[in-house]
């Protein structure tokens, strides 16, 4: 039978505020264990939380970017469960009255745009980190565990999507778009591998055309866009096979194993979790007035989707526009290069092609590399006035990236400037034509194949510096 996957995604993002969600401790990863801690984030007896207004503002930023309504009045609650790296044995989170509700994010897959609903965006605090010493690094088999509370109380934001996603590819595009927006807003570094952005997916299948949802499975432990897509593809196939065999899908949480390329059921809990949520009595409701909301809304930067639309209007192909729009640094370099006179598509092609490849090779970021808007504008100018060939331009780029100087300096030093002016080329071409009367005759009689031969001869005579296009045009004039 044909099934339609129904997917919803919950994304957790660590906010890059200076201080933690409910205390003044620094948010600073990589500090020695248990150094960024205080009575509040250690949950010491008597300590009380105070909401970090900056974190609220960051979460509001994301909510507004996702077209959510911002609640005038939102409430923190206690989510109760015991875990050794959670200092109070409850997590302060938002439950039935979150900060942001009912938004959406437009997602592009290929040429197709689809709208994914955002149920809510809420704030909460992160837990500490456990390191289990002993077999397998799991708590059950550990001889003992080490606890680091530097992360405890770091502001987390959770974005919950509606079950509007219909394929693994679309899920990947959604997370990618969301990540791009978060990076553009500058509220998180959203590193998937390091866990500052993490996501779980709920996936179920239903027969194509059916209204009712099937039984959903929660898939966890995917730490890259690729693993998200693979995990969902696997899970969709697994559920389809079950349904085809007449078996039921069990509602459970499944763990994605990247190496095995499969999901497996996590150790079943003896009982379902009952988090016993109730309003956090140590905090008053978060009040967001109109003025605050407007101020945050006005400070929103252009989001990737908006940049993409603008780049398309500037003449870029949609795919290239999307790639550039998603990358804050590439977008900045692109815009500066175009402002400097560079031709948009040429600059964009370099950025998404050659430049990306070069940076990957040298493991540097665009911001740290000598390739900037001015360099790309100059390079594009040289290609446009035909003083550089397309292949020479790539070589020049490599030189610029290696720190050899500006494009002009690199092209000159490497002797890559091509000759395209007629005054310099005509005498050489005339010599070549004179030396190859048979070829000239063939060309005149309509045999185009010899053009390549003649251009090659001119290139050889100029030591490869002639602009082949210009050469071809002059020869055609001569044949005229």
């Amino acid at each position: 039978m044909a099934y339609e996957p129904v997917i919803g995604i919950e994304t957790h993002v660590e906010l890059t505020t200076d201080s933690k969600m409910f205390c003044g401790c620094q948010v600073n990863f990589g500090s020695p264990p248990n150094t960024n801690v205080c009575p509040v984030c250690l949950g010491l007896p008597g300590a009380l939380p105070v909401v970090n207004a900056r974190a609220v503002e960051y979460a509001m930023t994301i909510g507004l970017a996702l077209n959510c309504s911002i609640a005038e009045h939102s409430v923190f609650a206690r989510k109760n469960y015991f875990y050794p790296d959670m200092p109070k044995n409850y997590q302060i989170s938002q439950y039935d009255e979150p900060l942001c509700v009912e938004g959406h994010l437009d997602v592009e897959v290929g040429e197709e745009t689809s709208r994914v609903g955002i149920t809510r965006v809420h704030m909460e605090e992160d837990t500490g980190k456990s390191t289990h010493i002993g077999e397998g690094g799991r708590i059950q088999a550990a001889s003992h565990s080490l606890l680091d509370f530097n992360r405890a109380g770091v502001p987390l934001m959770e974005v919950v999507s509606e079950p509007d996603i219909r394929s693994a590819e679309q899920a990947r595009a959604f997370v990618s778009e969301l990540r791009g927006a978060i990076l553009r807003l500058g509220v998180s570094d959203a590193k998937l591998e390091e866990g500052s952005m993490r996501f779980d997916a709920n996936v179920s299948l239903r027969p194509v055309g059916a209204e009712e949802f099937g039984t959903k499975v929660e898939v966890k432990n995917m730490n890259s866009l690729r693993s998200l897509q693979r995990a969902l593809e696997y899970e969709i196939e697994r559920q389809a096979a079950l349904l085809d065999a007449g078996e039921a899908v069990v509602q459970e949480t499944r763990h994605w194993d990247e190496e095995a390329g499969s999901t497996s059921g996590m150790r079943s809990k003896e009982e379902a979790f009952d988090y016993r949520y109730f309003p956090e009595p140590d905090l008053v409701p978060v009040a967001v007035d109109d003025e605050w909301r407007k101020r945050v809304a006005q400070s929103l930067p252009e989001l990737p989707a908006q940049s993409r639309a603008r780049y398309v209007a500037m003449g870029l192909e949609p795919t290239t526009a999307g790639l550039i729009a998603r990358d804050v640094e590439a977008g900045a370099v692109f815009e500066s290069a175009v402002a400097g006179g560079g031709e948009a598509q040429t600059v964009a092609n370099w950025l998404t092609g050659e430049v990306t490849a070069l940076l990957r090779k040298t493991e540097t970021g665009l911001a740290a590399s000598p390739i900037d808007g001015a360099a790309l504008a100059a390079l594009a100018g040289m290609v446009a006035d035909r003083s550089l060939s397309a292949s020479a331009a790539k070589e020049v780029l490599a030189g610029v990236a290696a720190g050899e100087g500006s494009p002009e300096e690199v092209a000159t030093a490497r002797d890559l400037i091509q000759v395209s002016d007629s005054a310099s080329l005509e005498p050489v071409i005339d010599e070549v034509l004179a030396a190859n009367p048979e070829a000239l005759e063939k060309l005149r009689s309509g045999d185009g194949k010899v053009m390549g031969f003649l251009i090659g001869q001119v290139m050889r005579a100029t030591g490869g510096k002639a602009d082949p296009g210009a050469v071809s045009r002059i020869i055609e004039l001569r044949v005229g």
């Binding site: 009575p39 250690l42 949950g43 010491l44 007896p45 008597g46 300590a47 009380l48 939380p49 105070v50 909401v51 206690r78 109760n80 015991f82 050794p84 200092p87 109070k88 044995n89 409850y90 708590i139 059950q140 565990s145 606890l147 009952d274 016993r276 949520y277 109730f278 009595p281 140590d282 905090l283 008053v284």
Partner: protein, 491 residues
């Protein structure tokens, strides 16, 4: 001058400034008194001899240097052992915090230190402030200085006993359902619960966060004012802290009650109240009327449900507040094969029966499927209580009642029946539910020679009128009896 330990805060403060006495002498007097009474009363869990000696010397030095940081400067103070004190053991009278040395001072403690107070020691309480007699302490029951066979009340029983016995001139406690006022009443002293949010809870080990409030236990109403002046006021570390300025409490103390409307709450007077207690309360109301107050009889219908609602809200909050005591980071740890076993063993051994009972009650009240019927319903009752009080304060400036339905009861009398113990707080719980201030003032002794307390309640931030009426009650009662077990000739 008599024994310095018998001075009020106001008298001692005046003496310090006149040079009649020093903080060191005052501390010595309190030390002597404690040495004499502690064996009988067990008001203290910890006495900080070194710290208090240093603080007294420093207080004298700064007075000599012409500094005067406030009304508790140089005064020996006792703190309920649920207020965290840097480097000084803080146990909440629980085994689970045995030996716990907090790395920080709570805000009230910081303000006391900054105000030159001499922190003498930490007083006994019912474990985690859950109880009305101190019998739930893991470290032994405190005893009432009026009759050591009876309880001092609770949960701030140690604080009340210390002030009544003269082993502190002023003490601080916490009041979640009456835990300052009821022991003050049973020990014949003044006990006051401020408006919720007036005193920072930062550093108060939480029992029920939405109800807990720190307040003073003193010998006089004026001393309660002095104590509140020092610890009250906005604290950015407590999100529920009241952000406004602290009003002037003193100027009305001598104004009398002429022209004030005093409301007698039908539901909190008469039924269920010991006749001797009610008679003393009625006599006090009559004296207020003679002093010029208008007496208004009024009803707070929802108050009948206050106790039931309280015993859902307070345990629900405590079930989460006490979850952090798990043996992982501090306090008691009992080994287990798994981390769950370790936590479970630690908690089973660390918490006493009443704390365990309330955690279970609260966990149940919050669980899926029961939340709305229990916790949700209790919150709705709370809203009704707040509305009833608001309506009542349209008709009266203050409301009055007995503080406790009975005087001090015998040790062991109510331990077998938690419900009878819970009834001790029937008159005090409503003010916690509404977040309003209330004070207990001693008005006399019953036929067994045990003190009777009179409660004055006021609307939120109504401390000035509450103190004004309380001061009149105090003057009219002329209560100046001393607890027999506070005297140097203790039996």
């Amino acid at each position: 001058m008599g024994d310095l330990a018998d001075l009020t805060v106001a008298e001692a403060a005046a003496g310090l400034r006149k040079g009649d006495l020093t903080a060191v002498e005052l501390l010595e007097a309190v030390n002597r008194r404690a040495a004499m009474t502690e064996a009988n009363l067990h008001a203290y869990l910890t006495v900080d001899r070194e710290g208090s000696a240093r603080a007294a010397v420093a207080a004298d030095a700064s007075l000599n240097a012409g500094k005067d940081p406030g009304p508790l400067h140089g005064i020996p103070v006792a703190l309920k052992d649920n207020m965290v004190t840097r480097g000084l053991e803080t146990t909440c009278s629980s085994k689970i915090l045995s030996g716990y040395l907090p790395p920080y001072d709570g805000t009230a403690v910081t303000r006391l230190r900054d105000g030159g107070a001499v922190i003498f020691g930490k007083t006994n309480l019912d474990e985690f402030a859950m109880g009305s007699s101190t019998e739930n302490s893991a470290y032994g029951t405190s005893r009432n200085p009026w009759d050591p066979e009876t309880v001092p009340g609770g949960s701030s029983g140690g604080s009340a006993a210390a002030v009544a016995a003269g082993s502190a001139l002023v003490a601080f406690g916490s009041d979640t359902g009456g835990s300052i006022r009821q022991p003050a009443a049973l020990c014949g002293i003044v006990g006051m619960k401020p408006t919720y949010g007036l005193v920072s809870r930062y550093g108060l080990i939480a029992f029920a966060s939405s109800l807990d409030q720190i307040g003073p236990l003193t010998r006089t109403v004026e001393d309660a004012v002095a104590a509140l002046e020092v610890v009250g006021g906005y604290d950015p570390l407590d999100s529920t802290s009241y952000p406004g300025a602290v009003p002037d409490y003193r100027s009305g103390l001598d104004s009398g009650v002429s022209g004030l409307r005093v409301g007698v709450v039908t539901e909190l007077n008469g039924t269920g109240i010991d006749p001797e207690v009610q008679a003393a309360v009625d006599a006090t109301i009559a004296r207020l009327e003679q002093a010029g107050a208008t007496i208004v009889q009024l009803s707070l219908p929802s108050v009948e449900y206050a106790l039931s609602a309280y015993y859902l809200i307070a345990p629900a909050e405590c079930s989460a507040n006490l979850a952090r005591f798990d043996g992982v980071r501090y306090g008691l740890r009992r080994h287990g094969e798994t981390v769950e076993q370790m936590m479970s063993n630690t908690r089973a051994e660390g918490f006493g029966p009443e704390v365990t009972r309330r955690i279970l009650l609260g966990t149940y009240a919050l669980s899926a499927g029961y939340y709305d019927a229990f916790y949700g319903q209790a919150q709705r009752v709370r809203t009704l209580i707040i509305r009833d009080f608001e309506a009542a304060y349209q008709q009266a400036d203050v409301l009055v009642s007995p503080t406790s339905p009975t005087t001090a009861f015998a040790i062991g009398d109510r331990t077998a029946d938690p419900l009878s113990m819970y009834m001790s707080d029937v008159c005090t719980i409503p003010s916690n539910m509404s977040g309003d201030p209330a004070i207990s003032v001693p008005i006399g002794l019953d036929s067994s020679g045990l003190p009777i307390g009179f409660q004055v309640m006021a609307p939120a931030l109504g401390e000035p009128v509450m103190f004004r009426v309380a001061a009149e009650v105090e003057r009219q009662a002329g209560f100046d009896a001393r607890a027999p077990y506070a005297s140097s000739e203790a039996r």
